[in-house]
């Protein structure tokens, strides 16, 4: 009976999770007309794609660092408030708005006649083009990912026993010492989870790059989308996909692969 109830689940996982990934791995060995080949891999290593992978990695790295730099002090600040749940809810609330709508807002804000250029003109730094630049891509991504970094970091910081901090203060540690020697080491796990939930999606974003940077920034995600939906070269798209999955695994190994924790705490 118990087994019978689980049958749909196993069929589902087999058909819609395992099979598609295996098919994708298989397709990475097929060329445009369906012959078995290693050409996709040869092309991937031939230069252009390696360059794109490195730059995609670099952007994801920058986005993750900036997201962490914004979120960590924010988590500390939320911990200090008297009504933590409410403030957390206020920060999390915008994540329920579809990220496309938020990205779309930035088209207006960063546009030639948008508010950022307006302020810049008023300060006499003159009209510059922020939309379609890589800085804009990073700002928008940090904006979108910040709450996802905040949650695990806040959970880790909030779990720290207040007595520990008081003890450190009593024993003569300064505020900075408490921060660097007590709080930070005790919140490493949260930071790792945060890095995991920000880094992997930033490698694969394609809608933000398309809308905000035109086609200037190309991430692994943009390349896959391009190969699959525009060029219809599924072989090459799958090859890039295989590399994206490999990178994901590398990131997960480095950050401890504790994705279970993350969902439990939401």
């Amino acid at each position: 009976m118990r087994r019978l109830l689980a049958v749909p689940y196993f069929i589902w996982m087999l058909v819609f999770v395992i099979t598609p990934l295996l098919l994708m791995a298989g397709y990475s060995f097929l060329d445009f007309s369906g012959n078995i080949t290693l050409n996709n891999y040869a092309e991937f290593f031939s230069g252009n794609y390696i360059k794109m992978t490195v730059s995609s990695f670099w952007y994801a790295f920058l986005i993750t660092i900036f997201t962490l730099l914004v979120s960590y002090p924010l988590a500390l600040a939320v911990r200090m408030t008297s009504n933590k749940t409410m403030w957390l809810l206020i920060i999390i609330l915008p994540t329920w708005i579809n990220l496309l709508l938020k990205t779309y807002a930035f088209i207006g804000i960063f546009g030639r006649n948008g508010v950022v250029n307006g302020i810049a003109g008023w300060l006499n730094i003159g009209g510059f083009q922020l939309l379609f630049s890589d800085a804009a891509f990073i700002i928008v991504s940090v904006y979108i990912f910040m709450p996802f970094m905040l949650l695990p970091v806040f959970n880790a910081i909030d779990d720290i026993d207040n007595n520990l901090l008081n003890a450190a203060r009593d024993l003569g540690a300064s505020r900075t010492e408490v921060l660097f020697k007590v709080i930070m080491p005790l919140s490493v796990e949260g930071v790792k989870t945060g890095v995991q939930v920000v880094f992997i999606p930033s490698l694969s974003l394609f809608m933000i790059t398309r809308l905000i940077t035109g086609n200037k920034v190309i991430t692994l995600g943009t390349a896959i989308e391009q190969q699959f939906l525009t060029n219809e070269n599924w072989g090459m798209g799958s090859t890039i996909g295989v590399f994206l999955i490999l990178m994901m695994l590398i990131v997960m190994i480095f950050t401890g692969g504790s994705s279970k924790k993350r969902v439990n705490k939401i």
Binding site: R2, F16, M24, L100, G108, G114, G237
Partner: protein, 261 residues
């Protein structure tokens, strides 16, 4: 120090809400752009409500979310019940397979499902979108239900069995009532993921069928259209109202609990 941290908190919150308020503000702009406010108008809202295509798309979006979440709950519940009763080592393997879908980037899920649907001869449209949404919701449901199962005192199940209940009765009368909060949480989590998804749907939808996020992407690629602003204002107000009610209910419950104690 405390003042500084409060100030930082406020600045971040202002920056977080600024783009959303910006969208809402210009949804009332009669000039039709997002840079110079001309005069107040409701024409963009009227055009949303008279745009039949858009209304069909909103209904599609809600239907896909509700159908896929309900199906995911049924499938995931069976999986969670199974995992609850297996050896630790087996469960660890099953859970890591379960987690593949959760950590996979959307592009990978979308592209690999596109290959599957094409090879299986499933035409791209409403069916493929619902199947894809169920696919990424099932693992989430399992993860939301499992902790509840572990919180349950196993003697409850033993007692029921000793008293002569068969497996069906145990599940329906003992386990499901106990883990109900987890099932509801799983359903809403699946609903959120489904409503929020863009990338997966973008890959597996055909030309005849569209959901809101895909439609917004198509509109935004063509440039600024204040209809999007009007839609997002409506969505934001809706979400805000829901969360506010949820917050009131949960604090109310907590207050009640404290009073009892």
């Amino acid at each position: 120090m405390k003042k500084l941290s409060h100030l930082y908190l406020l600045i971040v919150i202002v920056l977080l809400y600024f783009p959303i308020l910006y969208l809402m503000f210009y949804s009332f702009n009669s000039a039709g752009n997002m840079s110079s406010f001309d005069s107040f108008t409701l024409e963009h809202y009227i055009s949303v409500f008279t745009n039949q295509r858009l209304i069909v798309i909103i209904i599609n979006t809600l239907a896909v979310a509700l159908i896929s979440s309900a199906a995911a709950v049924l499938i995931g519940l069976g999986g969670a019940l199974f995992m609850y009763n297996v050896k630790n080592s087996t469960r660890r393997i099953l859970l890591s397979i379960n987690n593949i879908m959760i950590v996979s980037p959307d592009v990978i899920i979308g592209a690999s499902l596109l290959i599957l649907f094409t090879l299986a001869g499933i035409s791209l449209g409403s069916v493929s979108v619902v199947l894809a949404h169920i696919a990424f919701s099932v693992p989430i449901v399992v993860l939301m239900i499992l902790p509840k199962l572990y919180n349950m005192n196993h003697s409850l199940v033993d007692a029921a069995r000793d008293l002569g209940a068969d497996y069906k009765t145990i599940i329906l009368k003992v386990i499901i009532p106990y883990i109900n909060p987890g099932i509801i949480a799983g359903f809403f989590m699946a609903l959120t993921y489904s409503l929020d998804d863009f990338a997966v749907t973008f890959f597996v939808t055909g030309s005849g069928f569209s959901v809101l996020s895909v439609e917004i992407y198509a509109m935004a690629r063509r440039g600024i259209s204040l209809e999007i602003n009007a839609v997002s204002t409506l969505i934001f107000l809706f979400v805000f109202a829901l969360v506010f009610i949820y917050y009131l209910l949960s604090t109310h419950k907590q207050l009640k609990k404290e009073k009892v104690l």
